[in-house]
């Protein structure tokens, strides 16, 4: 019933945001705050690891879409997802929104490709 947001550096210039728990209408505002903070500090190449998300809803998904939009407005900015077997993956597929994101299957995959 909580969302945990952890930040690491995966690769120079790229911030890795690890989400764990519920990404729902109640909790996902936390994610938005973290993203807004990062952008303010000039970090707008964001990789979001969704593997540990146990539940997501349309509001949580909206937050991911919002973050995608905000980072893309910056020159060189972007948001990439790591999702493989997670709930988030299935949710993205059902809604057809997976097409909007570049998706990696795991962190090393993201590391190599970016």
């Amino acid at each position: 019933m909580d969302l945990k947001v952890k930040i690491e550096e995966l690769k120079k210039g790229y911030v890795l945001i690890i989400l764990a728990g519920d990404m729902d209408a109640y909790t996902s505002i936390q994610f938005r705050n973290v993203v807004d903070d990062l952008i303010k500090r000039g970090e707008y190449k964001l990789i979001v690891d969704t593997e540990e998300i146990t539940c997501i809803d349309s509001v949580g998904l909206g937050m991911l879409l919002g973050a995608l939009k905000k980072t893309r407005e910056k020159k060189g900015g972007g948001l990439w997802l790591i999702c493989n077997g997670s709930r988030a993956k299935r949710f993205l597929e059902i809604t057809g929104l997976d097409k909007n994101f570049t998706i990696f299957s795991d962190r090393s995959h993201a590391y190599r490709e970016l």
Binding site: Y26, D57, S58, L61, I94, L97
Partner: protein
């Protein structure tokens, strides 16, 4: 309190219309699905649908109005008789401003996933994930959404 429906076991949940309590609606839904013997996928679909229905009641039904009693009511009807097609019916009800059922039809048909910022994701999900969906909405009585998932 309910008047038992002979063929179905009935569970009622009544929550404040606030995102804080979504987790309770989700948890009960997934337990009820387990009791029904649903597959994990069906249970997940149903849980998402109930959550989206609650989110709509929270986001839209009581917007800009203090006079409503801001509650969301969820009724589960478990039809478990072996002889018939087993199913779970769920009614999500709010007492808010309602909306025109004509538009529901539009939202369902459009399902505009290409432009997700526009309206339509919640009802689209509900419609996609459940087997039967029926809206009954009016300004006087709020919105009642009846959905069915077959086992």
């Amino acid at each position: 309190m309910i008047k038992s429906a002979k063929e179905a076991a009935v569970i009622d949940l009544d929550l404040p219309a606030s995102v804080e309590y979504l987790v309770i609606a989700r948890l009960i839904t997934s337990l009820v699905c387990k009791r029904m013997g649903f597959s994990e996928e069906k249970a997940e679909d149903t849980t998402i649908a109930v959550a989206e229905a609650c989110i709509n009641s929270i986001k839209h039904a009581y917007r800009n109005n203090q006079k409503y009693v801001k509650r969301v009511n969820i009724r589960y009807l478990l039809y478990q008789e072996e002889s018939t097609q087993q199913k779970l019916a769920i009614v999500v009800k709010d007492f808010g401003k309602g909306f025109d059922p004509y538009f529901v039809q539009l939202y369902i048909e459009r399902a505009d996933v290409e432009r997700p910022e526009t309206v339509g994701l919640g009802i689209f999900l509900i419609k996609t994930l459940m087997d039967e969906v029926e809206y009954d909405s009016s300004p006087a009585r709020g919105t009642q959404l009846r959905m069915i998932k077959y086992k």
